[in-house]
Each structure stands twice: as structure tokens, then as C-alpha cells.
Amino acid sequence: MSIETLSAPPARSTRSLSSLFVLWRQTPLSFRIGLIILLIHFVLAATGPFWAPYGYSQMGTGRPLSGMSWAHPFGVDQLGRDIFSRVVYGAHIVILLSLSGTLLGLVVGAVLGLLSGYVGGWFDEILQRFLEALISIPFLVLALIAIAAAGPELSGNPVLIVLVVALVYAPRIARMARSVAVDIATRDYVTVARLRGESAWSVMRRELLPNATSVLLVEFALRAGYAPVLIGSLGFLGFGLRPPTPEWGLMISENRALIMVTPITVLGPGLMLASLVVGLNLFTEGLARILGRTVKLGVQ
């Protein structure tokens, strides 16, 4: 007997250029707002040094501790440095260090966690106990231990800061990734891959990772938001970037004693930090929804 061939309903096209605007309109609002905030930050980071009114370590730009004014929107610190200029100069440092540190932590954590959740058994058992041990150490203490172990000559080195951020975050992200993997690993499509004889690495890359993206992205945004605070705390303790580097966290801790006198000196960098965190969160939340196909893009 004849069995009919089914014909798929017309596809949504995402190819043509004229549809780009329509696609933009279909993206979740959070995605659009987040993307705009992030773009502002990136533009600031990329171009800031070329148009900032003062140098980041230039002293005597105005009366120390004077509040907001047109010349000094974020005020002037104890040494007479213009906070706004310092914030603008610092943008690329903050974004580069915290994003790359978190990204490294995410990659390491996701790979370890997904593999551990899929493979199970002894590998999982041992790795999890090890990661739990790392997590049980308060993260500042862990960071200090790592920095101390690296030796004094590396102290204040941006690469070390990135590695420390990754070290602090990776175990936490790995645990999250593992719990997701344990759930996905029981799905039939993973069983199909296993029956085919795919390696654990291949299963992780093809089957687990694409389905863990939304969780991992949200995790990334959250962690990336705290990273500047972590880097700042290290700086405050004298183990991070050294003054006068215009890193936002460092600036907040430098000026924190002045909060009663000129709150704007703390609020300025704080506001920038907050908007970066909010922007990152909105963007990744929206991105997760697009990748997770709860919001479908396409032109009929």
C-alpha cells in the first residue's frame, strides 16, 4: 500500500537581511535592553582612553573631595583625581579581567561538571569530593592561598588575577553543570549516542552542552557580575591589582572611607559596576531563552 509523504509546513526564514529588523523585534525585551547596556560598556572600554577628560592617575584635577559638578560628574577623590576619568579608563580593565576570568572558570567548570555527571562512577565521586573541598574554603581565602602559592613576583599580575577568578568559580560552576548533566544523561537521545559508541567527550559536546547552555549562561552572568567585586577585594587586601590602577572594585574600596563626605565617589564606580552586572544578566537571560527556543525567531 502507499504511505503518504508528509510535507513540512513553511519554514521560518532567518536568512534574508531585510528580516533582521523583524528578528530584532521578536527577541525578548530583556535581551534587547541587556545588549544595549553591554554595548555602551564595550564602547566605553574601547574608546574611553581617547576622550577621557583627565588621565587616570593625574592628580590635582580639582578640589579634593568636591562633589558632583559638570567638570567632575563623579566627583574628585582625596588625591584630586577625577573619578569619572578613572571610571572610563577602568572600564576595559574590569571587563577584560572579570569576563575572561569568569569565562575560563565557565569552560573548565562546565567541562568537568558535564563529564562528571555523564560518566559517573569513581571519576564523578572523586572529582566531586575534591570540588566540594575547594568550595568549602571561603573564596577570598582560596584566592589568597592561590596568590601566595604563585609567589610574590607574580602578585598584581593581571594574568594571575584571571587565573584566580577562574579557580574560585570553576568548582561552583562544575557542580551546577553536573546536576544538569545528571538529568540530561538519562534522556533517550543520550542513550542513542551511547549505543552508537560515542566517546564521553563527544556526548558532552554534542548532546549535553547544547542542552545545558541556558543554565550555564545564567550562571556565567551571575558570576561575571561578582567578579569585579572579587577582584576589587583582592586589590583592597593588597593582593590584586595595585593602585593607582583604575579598577572599579579597587576604587570603591579606596573611597569607601569617604562615603559620608562625598558619596558620589563610591556611587559612580558602583553604578557602573551595577549596570554592567544588570546588563550581563538581562542579556544572558534573553540569550538563554532564544537558545532554549522558548522564544522562536524567524519570519513566516
Binding site: E4, S7, A8, A11, T191, L195, R196, T213
Partner: protein, 673 residues
Amino acid sequence: MGAPVIAVEGLSVSYRQGAGFSRVVDDVSFSVAPGEVFGLVGESGCGKSTIALQLLGYRSPAMRTDAGSIAFDGGDLLALDRVELDRIRGARIAFVPQNPTTALNPGIRVGAQIDEILAAHGQVDPDKRVARTLELFGLVGLPSRPDFLRRYPHQLSGGQQQRVCIAMALACDPAFVVLDEPTTGLDVTTQEQIVALLIDLRARLKMSMLYVTHDLGLLSQIADRVGVMYAGRMVEIAPTAELFTDPKHPYTRGLIGSIPRIEDESGLPARPLRGLLQRHNLPKGCPFAPRCDWAETVCFEERQELATAGGAREVACWRWPDISVPDDARAVVESPELDYAERLLAIDNVSVIYGSGQNAFLALRDISLDIGKGETVALVGESGSGKSTLARAVAGLLAPAAGEIRLSGKRLAGIVKDRAPEERRLIQFVFQNPDASLNPRARIEKALARPLQFFFGKSSAEDVMAALADVRLDDKYSARFPDELSGGERQRVAIARGLIAEPTLLLCDEILSALDVSVQANILALLQRLKSERGIAMLFISHDLAVVRMLADRVCVLFRGDIMEIGRRDQIFAAPFHPYTHSLLEAVPTPLKPHPRREGVREMTAAPSAAGCAYAGRCAWQIGDICETERPPWRETEEGLRIRCHHTLEELSRRATWPNAASINAEDQKALQ
């Protein structure tokens, strides 16, 4: 018929979809008389569950009632506010959900859950509540003992859980009960018990019911009248017997035609409906017009309201008077006579044990089974019988504790990763649930290209297209994500993914059970064609004996990990039967079959002892202690049918009553032609 208990008038409901709303129930009207059981049937997504929820006054922010009224107790349910609804729900209108496991709160004892309802509806005396709960448990066939009230849901079987849900619904003597697929999640024998209970309750309590299901066969046993829905519209309403013997609407005809019939000895496929419901492409007129063989221009252009079609019947079709001639019976397929002499797969004395030590559970006991080249062997049995376990052992997902499995004479390693790539390629697995078997983040082309790349080292778009064409899907599907496909389409893709590796053996684990009847018929036809064209051997697991009868060359009946009976298809469906096979056959719901009187159906009393027959303790034909103490011998007929039972073959033949119970149906079938 007196005044209806509940009357739905012109009900239209929409769900939010993206920016707008899409209509899921469109101008539906029907009423249910006192003491009547009204069946609502249709494929998934036709709007039947939405109507069921509307009858309970369920409202959700994502849902909008566009028009209509539901008259009940002299008021309009749709106009009531929350407080008034709370008073009616549970007391005057009750609900039995589809899945009792999720409907019962796992943290509350079952007695307390019923107590809650009684308390909420004004029974203040705790002693009376307990007495009533015990009475209800007796009513639904649960032990009405105080200690049973103190059980938690997880301590009950699925069937018992559903009985608790039914008791809950009956707690306040409602005037009207809505049942949403109450037996769908249960296995055949349990399903049959629940249906028997409902029929019994209906006779005793004279309740009105709305029974929502996709299973027409089931409705024939319990419903007085049936409403058939398609794409949100009611297309036909008719008294049950008339609907089955003389369906008027082309969709109803197709639906009834797609039901696999257990008495059908021909092995011919059910006649599937043409095409698929394409929601984005519904005509202005009749939604079924694009799939209808009789459609004319008027069908596409003008909408047909439900109109009287003689007697108590109503049908929404422009053409029904012209198509009363029954269309041809089932299509004929030429299946080549294959010689299965050459053995492909040999399962030798395989046992599988789950757990270890004290908790060890023998899932398969000493199973031996052969599959010839190109042969389809069906594994039949209720849930927990070890069907899936056997398939998983063959696939290499779990290692047998004893025995060995050989493919073309070569011993297969227990676990898949120890097998050679070629061995992994030759055995492919298709899973039950098409929703879970495709990676939701991979486009179809990616899902199909991967096995090609993995096994053959290269993949091309043409190969992927060819694989899609094999399962009758066109090129456009390759760029889709699984969530853009219907269940049937996904199952086709899953089959294509198995076939693309060019296996010699396909393991099919209940691959039809998650699909609608009409879709099932399509996939079944597809499997039959693959079988005859490609000569692929199949291990086909199913609890649906009618499907098995169409597809299988040989059937193996399992119970609690032990083979009860094994033989060619025609032998299995004829006397002598193993007592268990017989009870399975009797339990199959068939359109218009009068409900069989089951003598001596017993709940499992005790776990079977390792020494005796696995079925002892539930067997209606049990001889005595010998069944529990001594493993029954194989009894073999001259044609090669093997039955494991202490009864002699003559005795088993003598006791068999099965095909006769369905004889009425054979007459109906003649009337159909």
C-alpha cells in the same frame, strides 16, 4: 432523556500564542443527560482536554474564553466567580485526572487526602469523614481498612492510585464527573479493571460523566454517546453503537478504520487517515477538508455547523448523505514469504539481575529466543514483565548476569562500549517516547547526519534527504528542530535515525504507544513496508496485541521475566493459550465487544517463588500447589508453539474462550461491509 445535567453552548476557547491568541476550541455545543456517559474523543491537540477543564471552571492567564456558556445547576459556570466555583468544584462537579502519580500529593497519606475534600465541603465531624472515606474505598474496590488509609501514594500500585483518585472524585456525591484520560497511563490489565470499575459505578450511582480519551475502543465499552472532535470543532455526535457501525463524518470513518483490530487475522494494516492535521493551514470551511476524500469546493469555503442527521445523531459535514456507502476495507499489502531459517540473533539462557545482595531482583529468568534474518519477533507482556529489559540487554545497555547473546553467530559483549563498531551499527534502538529521543537543540539534519558520519565516516545532504524520504518526510524537515514536529513526525525521524545506520536488527521499544491511533496506523504501515522492502529484523515490544497481530511473525509472551508462551503469530492467537496470554487477549478493549465477564481475576497475592511458575498466584486456571513449587514444563505442539504450563495442551485448548467472546464483533464487522 430529562433535562441535561450540564449543557455546553457555543463554547470557544483560545490560548495565548506569541503575541496573539489561537483558537483551540471553536463553537462547541453538547449536553449530558442525567445518568449518561458522554465520551469525547479526538487526536491530541483537538481541544478535548481544554473542554474538560472548562467544565470545571478552570481558568488560566494563558487562556481566554471567547464565547459560549456552560449551564449547570441553573447557572452559567463561566460566569461564576472563584468563591462560587470552589463551592461547586469537588462537591457538584468532580475531576479524575490522567496521571494519578502526579495527581496525588506524595507527602500526604491517601486517607487524609480524601479527608481534606470532605472537610472542605462542610463535613465537620472527623469520625463521619473517616467512615465516609472507608465507604468510598470499599466502593472503588480498595481495602476499606483503617490501616490502608494510612498508606502513602507511593505504597500503592498505579491502578490503586487511580482508584484513590476516583474515590476522591466521588467523595461528595457529585452530579457530574469529568474523567480526563483516566486509564491512559496504565497497562492493559489494570486499564481493564479501572474501566470495569467505572462501568460498575455508573450502574450503581447513576452518575453523569464526561469521559475524555483518544481511545475509541475504550469508549465503545463505557459511553452512551460519543462526540468526535477535530481541530477544535465537534464534527459528529452519535450514540455509541451507531457511531461504530455507521460513522457519518469522514473523519470518524477514518478514525474507526485506523483502529487495529485484534480479531483481524489478515495481518493487513489498519487503514490510516490520509495526511496530517496542519494547523497553520486550515481552510475557512471544514477543518478536515484537506484530508477528506470526499471534499468539494463548498467544504473548503463554507463552514458546516453541527446538524441533525437522523435520530439522536448530529454531524458537521456537507457531504455526509452522499458517502454512506462504506469505503473499501483495509488495503492489501503483499508480504513476501520470507524464510527465516537463517538465524540472525540468538539469545541463549539470558538472565538479568538488578541490584545485588538482599535487594537483588531477577528481571529476566533464563530467556532463550532466536530471531531470524528479516523476522519480526514481538515481545508482549504487562509493564514489569521484562520486555524492555530484554531489549536493553540485546542493545548492550545492561549486561546479562548469565547466558549469552550472539549476532550472526558471534558472541556480543555485555556492554555496548565493549562491542565492535560494526556490531553497534547492526543493532539500532528506537525508543518509546519521541519527545525524549531527539536532542531538542539539534536540527533534524544534524540528528541524522551524525550516525552517518560516525559509522561511515562521511555524510551528505543527499543521504539525509534519502533517509527522510524513507520514512516519508520531505526535504523541508531537515532544517527543523524537534519542537517544530508533531509526535508522529518525531517518531518517523527517530526511525530514520535508526535506519540510516543500515542495521540488520531494529529494536522497537513500545514505539507506537505514545502516538494517536491514526498516527499509529501510519507508522505501522511504514514499518510493514520497511520490513518487506528491506528485510530488517525487528524485536518489537508492545503491550498492544492488535498491533502485534498485524506486524509480528512470531510472538513471545513474557510475564515477570519469564517466557510463558512463544510461537508463530497465528498460533499465539488461537487455542491452546497460556492462561496469561488468554487473560491478556480478554483484556483488549475492542470496539463494541461486550465487556467480558472475567471469572477469577486475581490480584497478585505474593511474589512468585523462584521455584514455581511466575504466573502462579494470579493465574485463573491454577491447578494447585504444584504451580507454586515446581517450574512448569515446556509443552510443544506439532507446529512448534511452545507453552510453559502444568496444564496439558488439550486442557488449555478446552478452557480457551477468547475468540468467542468477540464473535459479536465479527458480525458488526460484516454489517460494516
